[in-house]
Symmetry: C2
Subunit: 318 residues, 2 copies
């Protein structure tokens, strides 16, 4: 599938919004920082059921299934996407098999099982092969890719439809970028609306494959350092996502772990939101860019963080 | 002023909603717990600017000032209400004097000063006298009472107008009760809408003056134990609030500190919200009542809590 040619029209995004209306909330756009002629507001996707934007894509992917779902569906995911899909599948009584890497956090796999899905674990390399090939080796039904799937991007793009109603003039949208499905969905939906806010991809210093790929002019693999920021920062940009990402991203901002921790503290104290590291990366990037970015939306992608880690971060002095 | 005869009509609540539209957000109503035929949803007032519902009252009180505001306005408040009033006053360039008890947290007084208000501190007894008499002893302008003021209750009542749009069938509303201004505003606005959800006042075991007053059939003073729950639980019900509170409250639930701490942990982990103790009291009470309460709204009144205290609570094991 050549995703660079994936140019859905507004009716398809609107249909996605209707399809997920019972699964996802219209997340609030919260005031955060104001200066003359410029403002930062927060699109709080951490308030979604299951704590991240992934419910939008999961619900829309299931709503988009054509007819025969008797054999169920399958996906390859380490966590949030699988949870969103599992919740939406349970509500629709569709059997789901989740293929996960063996090193995925046990607590995430347990949450997926609690939502009623069947979980199969694989060695990381085999899991990655499934992710790339979409071949699970099992007769477990239609495969739903967590990132490069039209239904997934349509679901994520419903964020833009809400934003366009919530704020009449948006100059820039800061979005954490992992696989790129969230960013692509938002960017494409704005284009479908005839709007062109600046699309700023936000990465973390410990793993910034999009930044490296832009310098190289192609999808490249990088060395990644593990950190508490686990929702973004993979080892590479997916080959099939590169044509689209290279087209829709206007700028990449790479923030430090310290900037993310500081943003998380601010969001706790001033906005009373619990954000995971990836979720706060967009806020950290927007704060660094400051008023020159104009009217800015920072998308808080999720809030799933270990309470002990969150406690440690909010206890730190500035 | 006899507030029991205060029965404003819908147009006055609607006018309040218009008056505060630039100061407060329409706070989201978030899904939290679902059972067959019953659900708990969260009215997240902790997401308001300054982290509590108080901005609604502060903004509406200023919007309601009749003409001559050259000498400014004054209030007696230990914290949240004064902050809301200060933010709204700064936006309208109205001078504000805040009379506060000398034992108010320095961090709260500093926040009020940063918002541009003039702060005068008094010994606690003298401050309480000002609160009761509305006589500050200074020529500091029109006095705005933080609780028993029609404009304050009209501002708080805008919550009900939003709720009626956000959920078509509400059986019960759980509301933390301190001075009673939040609860009264919500209850009166529902009546103005022609709706009669069950109004449940939520108190904490360390200080439950409304519960004691209902048993006594009159406003009584109690012994209060200080705790981390500082937004509710005063030493008594205000005499002038008693007639109204005795009329509109259907039930009082007194929750334990441990129930509040458990609710705060749930709200952190599952809803990604930072709530102060008072803010979580309504959620704790709704959880105890369970599905028999029907479709339930728990009003999270605020999220202003010391990060170190919050960190300690979320680190506790169940």
């Amino acid at each position: 599938m050549d995703l660079s040619s994936f140019a859905p029209l507004l009716p398809e995004f609107s249909a996605a919004a209707t399809a997920i209306a019972r699964d996802a909330i219209v997340s609030p756009l919260l005031p955060f920082r104001a200066a003359t002629g410029a403002e930062i507001r927060l699109k709080a996707e951490n308030l979604q059921p299951l704590g991240s934007f992934k419910i939008r894509a999961g619900a829309n992917a299931l709503a988009s299934l054509s007819g025969g779902t008797t054999t169920g569906v399958a996906t390859a995911s380490a966590g949030n996407f699988a949870q969103g899909l599992a919740l939406a599948a349970a509500r629709r009584s569709i059997p789901l098999t989740v293929h996960a890497p063996a090193n995925a956090p046990a607590v995430k796999l347990e949450a997926i099982r609690r939502l009623g899905a069947h979980v199969v674990t694989h060695p990381y390399e085999e899991w990655w092969r499934i992710m790339m090939s979409r071949d699970t080796g099992c007769p477990d039904g239609q495969f739903i890719h967590p990132v490069s799937e039209p239904a997934v991007m349509l679901g994520n793009g419903t964020i833009s439809l809400e934003l366009a109603r919530q704020w009449e003039r948006i100059d820039a949208v800061f979005i954490p970028v992992g696989g790129g499905g969230l960013l692509s969905g938002i960017a494409l939906a704005f284009r479908a609306l005839g709007l062109r806010p600046r699309i700023v991809a936000c990465e973390v210093e410990t793993a910034a494959p999009l930044s490296s790929s832009r310098r190289a002019g192609k999808a490249v693999a990088i060395q990644r350092q593990p950190s508490f920021v686990d929702g973004i920062g993979g080892g590479s940009v997916l080959e099939e996502m590169w044509p689209l990402l290279s087209k829709v991203v206007d700028e990449v901002v790479v923030v430090t772990l310290e900037e993310i921790r500081a943003a998380m503290r601010m969001l706790m104290r001033e906005s009373h939101l619990v954000c995971e590291g990836a979720g706060a990366a967009s806020v950290a990037a927007a704060l660094r860019s400051g008023p020159r970015a104009g009217n800015t939306v920072a998308v808080i992608s999720g809030g799933n963080i270990d309470p002990a880690v969150f406690a440690e971060i909010i206890n730190e002095k500035e």
